[in-house]
Symmetry: D2
Subunit: 361 residues, 4 copies
C-alpha cells in the first residue's frame, strides 16, 4: 500500500534517499504519445536541490534513464519505467543519529510501524522520492498536451507571512520561472527572497503556499461521490512532503459568503456553457466544468534545521540532535514542479476514465 | 469508479435522491464486531434534515435495514449491506427544472459527462448519498472502539464570519450535541444560530467550518508516500458535498512559522514517546504518532437558495430558476456526523492495513 | 476482499442464503444502455432451482428489484443496484447441524477463518450468491449487444462419464435451452437426463462440464501480462461454486500437439485478418483476435448428498451428518446462465478498458 | 492495467525483451524478512534459457540488482525493486519480420490494440517478462518460509503424449531438479528428454503439463466468492505465457465421480481437523483447509518454430515467416520455477489479507 497513485494512468514509485536509486513505473499510459526526454529532464532540474541561490551546498544531478515502454519515440502502451541513480552515497558515519528520533521527522513513526528503518536519511519518507513523481508528471503533461492542450501552472504565493494578495488572473504566470522564488510578481519575489535568505542565515526554515492553476481542462473529468476531481487533487497535494492544507476555488474564504454571492451563474458563449464567476474553481459536483481549476497548497517549514534540538532516542532517553549537510531554508520554490506533476497525474487519470463513461464515446 | 472508498475496510454506496432507495455495502469488515443497530440509527438521525430549528419543512425519516453480514449480533466477515428507503417519492411535476442548469449544482457537469441525468433532484450528486456513509461510519466506529478505544469528535467552529477562536483543547467537546448548531461554545452557538436564522429568513444560505478531533489513535496508521493518513483523510473530507478545503495540524497558519517554532520535540512519558507540542496534528511522515489528530473542513454555502437566479437551459438559452422545497440555510451542523463517519472509515481501513506491515504482528 | 469483480465494469455482491436478501451493485456501467428488466428476470429464472424435472422440491422465485442507476429506461452512469429477497426464511431448527462440519462444504474453513459462521446454510458460500451475478451479467450482455453484437453461448457438454464428442462448431447452439439438461445434442441430452435421474434416485450427486462460446468479440480485449483475457476468464469461472478446472482453445489436449500443428496461420478475408484454425481459442498473447472464444469449465459433484456421512463437530468429535431439504443431483444445467454471466462481465470490463489504450480512441 | 498482480503483497513488472532492462517492484512486503539474494539468483538461473541440454544456443545471464526496500539484510516495509539488464541487445536487422504477423504470437493483437509494437521480439508479451516474476516469487517464498514453513514444489508431469500416471504422493519430489526435464520419475524423465530432443531436431516444439504442490499451507487463506484461493491461483497460472488450462484437486477427472465418492470426510488427528481423502485439493469454499494444495497447468507448444510458415503482413498480404535465433523445443521444464513463483505470490498475498479477517488477530 501507499506506493501507487492513480487508477488507469497509474504510477508506482520506489527507492530510498540513501539506496542505489529511485524510480517509477507508469502503467496504463496510452500508446502513441510522443515522448520528449528533454522535458522530463527539465522538470527534474527544476525540482533538484541546489539549483538556485536559496539553497546552499550540494548540487545533485538527477539523470533519468528510461528502461521500457517507449519505441521509436512513442509510448507503446506497455509500462514506462524510469530510473534515477542516487549520487553521493559515500559511506558516512551515521552513528550520531542512528538511534535518535529527529523532531517532526518520520523517524519515530516508521520505527514504530515497521520495527526497522534506514537511519541514514529519510529513507522512503525523504522528499527525494518526489523526483520520481516529477518524471512521471512530465509524461502526463505530454499526454494531456497532445490530446487536449491542457496547461499547468504553479507558483509561490506566500512565504511565511509574506502573502501575494493578487488573484492568479492578475498575474503573468509565465514570469514564475524568472526568479529563484518562483513568484510571478517580481516585487514580492524580491521580498520573499530576502526573507528566505535571512532564514538561511538563522539556520532555520520557513513555510509557504503554492497556488496551482489548470487551464483548458476538458468538461467531465472527475467521478461522482468519493473520487471527485478536487478530492483526488487534494489527496495528491496532501501526499507531497510537508503539505498541511489544500483548498480550491473559493476555499476557506468561501465559507464567509452567502449562496446568493457564491453561486456561479451560467451563460452561453460561442456555443459553450460558461460561468460568469468561478467560485466553484472549475469543478461542480466533483466534475470539471471547463473553467480554470485553481487551488492553494500549504507547506509547513521543513523539519531539518541547522540548530540543536531536544529529543529522545529509541529507548526514550533524552538527547539532542542537530541538522547536518544540505540546508534548505524554504523548499516551497522547488516544490512547484511537484505540484504541477501531481496535478497532471490526476487530470490524466480522470481523462482516461472519462472515456469509459458513456455507451458510445 | 467513484462509488467505492477504502482498501480493506471498504464501502460502496449506491442510490439517487429520487430513486426507491439508497444504500451501502461494507466489505472487509472483520468478523466478531458487536453491531449495535441503535447506534447506526442514532447517527442517521443526527444527519437527517429537519431535525432542528435551523432547517424548515420536511422531516425525513431514515430507517436503516440491515440485509447481510451480521449473525447473532456480530459481524461475520461477509459484506454488511444496509438499505435506506427514500420517502416522499410522489410524482411531482419537474418540467420547470428538467431542462435547466441550476447554478453551482452538478446539473451541467453530469449532463455533459453522461449525456443523461435524473433531473428530479441531485440524483447521485445529492447530499442524500451521505446517509449511506453515516451508516457505514457507525460500524467503523464500533470496530475501532472495540479494538482500541478510538474516539471521534466533530463540531462547528465557524459559520460565515463567526469564527470560534478557541482551540479544541479549550472546549468541552461533549457539549457539541447540546445545541442545534453543534458548536460546543454555548455563547458562540447562540450567535451562529441567529446568523443562520437570519439567513433562512433571507431565503439564502451560508457556509462554515467543521473541526474534527480523533483521540486515542494507535501509532502506525497511514502508509508512506501516496496514501499518507492525512492525504486519505483529506480526500475523505473533500468528497463530502460542498467541501472546499481541508487542513490538519498547524494547517494554513503553520506556513507562517519557523521550523524552530513548528517542530514538535519528543519526550518520554510513562514508557510512551510523546511530543511536547502538536503542530504535526498527530501525523508525521503520513503516519499517526499517537497524539490527537485534528483538522478543519471548509463548507461553502450550499447552492440551493430560495431566490430567483439567472442561468441557461440545455440549449444554452438564458432562463431563470428558483429553489423550491426544503430550505437548508446552513448544512454545516448536520454535516458533523458525516465528518465523523468519514474519519472513522479512514482510520478503520488503515488499522486493518497496519496488521499487514510487519513480519510478525 | 473477495466480494468485488471487475475493474471498470465492476460488481459487488452481498447477502447470505438465509439472510433477508442478496444483491449486487454494478459500478462503472456506461450511461445510455437500454435496460430490459425482463431479460434480467429471464436469466434469473434459468438459474433458479426447481425449474425442471431434474431438481426436486422447492420452487424459489427470484424477483429482482432495481434500486438505482436507471432513469427513463436507460443507465445513467451511476451505480445500478439490484435486490433479490430470500423466501422461505422460516425459523427452522438447525441444532442438528449447527455444530457439525459437513464434508467438502465450506463449514470448517469459514469457522476457522472467521471464528464464526451462519450455520443455517452455506451463508456467503452458498450458490445462492450466484443469482446476483446472473442479474449483473444480464446487464453486461445488454451493454455488449448494444455496442458490438457480442453473443454468449453455454451448454452442458459432459455429465459424469457421458461426454459430448462433437465440437461446438458441429452443434446447433440455439437448441441448448430446449431440454432440461441444456445439452444441444438431443440424443446425448436424453442420456444425460437418465443418468441424472438415476443419481437423484440414489440420493447422490454427479459432476459435469460446461462449454462456453463467445462470438463477435472485438479485437483487442485483454491486457498484457497478468490480466490476460483468458486469465481473467479463468478466474471468473473458477470463482463459481463447485468449479475445479478451466481450459480454453486447445486446452489440456493441446499439450500433445507440435507447434507446427498447433500454430494458427493468418490469412486475410474481406479486409479482416483471420486465422485458418483456432487452437488459440480466439486469444493470442492474452488479447482477443476476433475469432470465437471457446472454453470448458469442470464442475465437481456438489457436496450436499441425501446420505449419511461421517464427519466431526467443532470439538473434533466424530459424528455423522445427512443432507436435508432440496436435492440437486446435478447443478451443472442450471450453472449454464452463471457461466454466461461471468463471461459477459469479463468481456464488458475489458471492452471499457480497451477505450483507454490508445492516444486517440 | 495488466502489469500488477496481488492486492497487499503486490508486484508490478515492467520491461520488454529488447529494451535495456526488465524489472519488478514488490509493494506491501512486510518488514523484517531476511532476504537471501543468492536464492533469488538461483531461481533466476533455473528459469533462464540455455541452462540444459534441451535448449540450444545462447546462454543468457540474468543478474538481479536490488535497488530498494532492503536495509541491513532485511526488508524494511518499503517497495523492493529489482532490475535485470537485458544482454545481447545488438542492433540486428529486423526488417524481415517488422511487418509480419507471426502465427500464434501476439504480433497481430498488440498491433491492433495499440497501433504500434516493438517488432524486435515479443516486446512485453515475451516470456522474458517472467524473470521478473521469478525474482519476486523468491521473496514471497522467503516470507512464507519464515512465517509458516510453507513449501512449494513443481515438476513436469507430461510432455506431448508422455504422461506420468503416478500421483505426486507416490513421487520423491526432491528429485525433480536432478534432470534437465524436471520430472521426478527418472525413467519417464529419460523418455521425455528423448521426445524433446527429437522435437528439437525436427525444428519443432511440443507442449506439456506442470504439476504444482503446496505443503504446510495455513488454514484460512483465500477470500469468499470472487477471490477464492483456487480462482486466484488459476488466474496466476493462466497469466504465464503459453498456458491453456488449469485444474486443481480432482480437476477435470472429478466430474466423473459421485458426490458420495468425491466428498472428503473430516476426522481429527492430534487436535487438528483433517480430511481422509483430498479431492478438494486443500481448498474448500475457496479457502485453504490445511491439506496439500495440488494442481495441473497445461502448456501449449510454443509458437516459435524453426520452420517456414504461411502468414500475412500488416496490409493483409500473404507472406511467410521462419523462426530464427534461439530454439526452445519445450519450454515446460524451465517454466517450473515460474509456476512456483506465481503460487508463492498468491499464497503470500492471501496470508497478509488473512491478518485482516478477524476482530482480534
Amino acid at each position: 500500500m501507499g506506493n501507487h497513485f492513480g487508477n488507469i494512468f497509474r504510477i508506482s514509485t520506489f527507492g530510498e534517499s540513501h539506496g542505489p536509486a529511485i524510480g517509477v513505473i507508469l502503467d496504463g499510459v496510452p500508446s502513441g504519445i510522443e515522448i520528449d526526454e528533454g522535458k522530463i529532464q527539465l522538470d527534474l532540474s527544476r525540482r533538484r536541490p541546489g539549483q538556485s541561490g536559496i539553497t546552499t551546498q550540494r548540487k545533485e544531478e538527477d539523470t533519468v534513464e528510461i528502461l521500457s515502454g517507449i519505441f521509436e519515440g512513442k509510448s507503446t502502451g506497455t509500462p514506462i519505467s524510469m530510473l534515477i541513480r542516487n549520487k553521493d552515497q559515500k559511506s558516512k558515519d551515521y552513528s550520531h543519529i542512528s538511534n535518535k528520533y529527529r523532531p517532526s521527522h518520520a523517524d519515530y513513526t516508521y520505527q514504530h510501524k515497521y520495527g526497522v528503518r534506514d537511519y541514514r536519511g529519510g529513507g522512503r519518507s525523504s522528499a527525494r522520492e518526489t523526483a520520481a513523481r516529477v518524471a512521471a508528471g512530465a509524461i502526463a503533461k505530454m499526454y494531456l498536451n497532445q490530446t487536449a492542450g491542457v496547461e499547468f501552472f504553479a507558483y509561490v504565493s506566500q512565504v511565511g507571512t509574506l502573502k501575494l494578495q493578487k488573484s492568479y488572473l492578475d498575474l503573468d504566470l509565465s514570469k514564475s520561472e524568472e526568479n529563484d522564488v518562483r513568484c510571478p510578481d517580481p516585487e514580492m519575489a524580491q521580498k520573499m527572497f530576502e526573507l528566505i535568505d535571512q532564514t538561511r542565515k538563522d539556520r532555520d526554515t520557513i513555510g509557504g503556499v503554492i497556488t496551482g492553476v489548470i487551464k483548458n481542462v476538458p468538461v467531465g473529468l472527475g467521478e461522482p461521490v468519493f473520487d471527485k476531481l478536487h478530492a483526488e487533487l487534494g489527496k495528491a497535494m496532501l501526499s507531497i512532503n510537508a503539505v498541511k492544507g489544500f483548498e480550491f476555488g473559493s476555499g476557506f474564504e468561501g465559507v464567509k459568503l452567502k449562496g446568493s454571492e457564491h453561486n456561479d451563474e451560467f451563460y452561453e458563449e460561442g456555443g459553450r456553457i460558461r460561468t460568469k464567476t468561478n467560485y466553484s474553481g472549475g469543478i461542480q459536483g466533483g466534475i470539471s466544468n471547463g473553467e480554470d481549476i485553481y487551488f492553494n497548497v500549504a507547506f509547513k517549514p521543513v523539519a531539518t534545521i541547522m540548530k540543536d534540538q531536544l529529543t529522545v532516542d529509541h529507548s526514550g532517553k533524552e538527547t539532542s540532535v542537530e541538522g547536518r549537510g544540505r540546508h534548505d531554508p524554504c523548499v516551497v520554490p522547488r516544490a512547484v514542479p511537484i505540484v504541477e506533476a501531481m496535478a497532471a497525474l490526476v487530470i490524466a487519470d480522470f481523462d482516461l476514465i472519462r472515456r469509459t463513461n458513456k455507451l458510445r464515446h
